[in-house]
Amino acid sequence: MTKEQRLARTFVELADSLVDDFDVVDLMVLLTERCVELLDASASGLLLAGPRGALMVVAATSEAIETVELFQVQSDEGPCRDCFQSGVPVSVGDLTEQTERWPAFAPFAVTAGFRAADAVPLRLRGQVLGALNLFRTTPGTLRRSDIATAQALADVATISLLQSRAVHDNQVVAEQLEEALNSRIAIEQAKGILAARLDVSMDEAFSRLRRFARTGQSRLTDVAQQVIDGTLRPGDVMVSTRS
């Protein structure tokens, strides 16, 4: 298979993730491996921002590069980190010349055996999700066509990521909605049970539930569920009003 064919196949593999269920990490690992295969890179790593914005190393083609990526995250320095922050590609032809820019990271990467780095952002419109990084053991800049290819691969991966997050988010919210509604149902049912058993009004029943929950430092929902289950008898929910 020619390089072009392999590249085309990679795009198809990435695009497939848009239609089928896929594992995010698998996709990211695939992306980095293909970059090393098809582009002028000795190693590749991928960083994604977590829910609170902190960068995480999600994929790395070798232990050496994993260590280098981790170091970037921890030292808050480096081409990938800068790429993520700025949202634009970062290209470095010789890391030995970057000790002013990255005083901690540059020497560390050079010691690890890497001399050059290129980072492209995973971004769509205004959102930057992370950075895809290509490292080389010899100095020199990456061919423009390779950078463009890396960016194109990153773009397809970004779309898949965003789509999978949207799906996940919707499911999470739907679950929260269901829980919130179920909780209300339980509370209303428990009010009914108390009202009938203790022969009190709905308001009084609710007061009793609330007071019982507060004194016991339990959640209202939990107390309600216990009344429904029968583990809490209506009589137990009587709170003495005598001071």
Binding site: N170, Q176, A180, L181, N182, K191, G192, A195, M202
Partner: protein, 238 residues
């Protein structure tokens, strides 16, 4: 339908949406307006119970209540199948289904009903139901627009819940909880009065409503007001 009428309708809908936010009530009215149907109602399936969320007018509200009471109808099928379900002629249905619902719906003033699932991929919330007083199907445009509207309603519901503090129900959906409140209170009371589980109590309330040709919500109101006390086999109405 003329282009002018389309544009005027669309402009009115956009005005409603822009001015009033995305509360379910507004979305129901916007659905009816934008789709050019007599009325629209929405329900969420909560714990297996079709729970009315909103309705654009009295008939639509009645249809939602009927489906909740009877536990059957196009909205239930649309929700369960995840596909739009239509009955363009309730008086002469092509298929024998929802027998109880169909006769009650005709009585309420509906000639045709079309239900669209409220879903976003794997997330399924309930259904949006449109009705017309006279028989007829939806045009291709209406059908396509209804699919879009159902998506809008689903997103609005999820989005309003997403902005609610953790463990609470979004204020726009309070209506949903309040509407069901009396029913669930009645379920609790009936479970004590009958000495059965709440699940069984709901079944009995439903049975009582159906036997008496009444809406579940009406029976629930009577139980909560203590005008009705269900006993073992027979209820005692005053």
């Amino acid at each position: 339908m003329s282009r002018d009428r389309d544009n005027t309708r669309l402009a009115r809908v956009l005005a409603i949406l822009a001015g009033g936010g995305r509360s379910p009530g507004i979305l129901c009215r916007a659905s009816a307006e934008s789709l050019g149907v007599a009325g629209a109602g929405a329900m969420l399936m909560v714990n297996g119970l079709p729970t009315p969320l909103c309705a654009s007018n009295g008939v639509a509200e009645q249809l939602e209540e009927l489906q909740s009471t009877l536990g059957e109808g196009p909205c239930v099928d649309a929700h369960e199948s995840g596909r739009p379900i239509s009955e363009p002629d309730l008086a002469r249905p092509r298929r024998a289904r929802w027998i109880a619902f169909t006769s009650a719906a005709l009585e309420a003033g509906a000639g045709a009903v079309h239900s669209f699932p409220l879903r976003l991929g794997g997330v399924r919330l309930g259904a949006l139901t449109l009705y017309e007083p006279t028989p007829g199907g939806l045009s291709d445009d209406q059908h396509a627009d209804a699919l879009v509207m159902a998506g809008v309603v689903t997103e609005a519901i999820l989005s309003s819940q997403a902005h609610a503090p953790l463990d609470t129900l979004s204020p726009e959906l309070e209506l949903l909880a309040e509407h069901g409140a009396e029913l669930h209170q009645a379920t609790g009371m009936a479970s004590v009065q009958l000495g059965v589980s709440v699940a069984e109590a709901l079944v009995r309330l439903r049975g009582h409503a159906y036997a008496g040709g009444r809406l579940l919500s009406e029976v629930a109101a009577d139980v909560v007001a203590r005008r009705l006390v269900l006993e073992s086999e027979h209820g005692t109405d005053p």
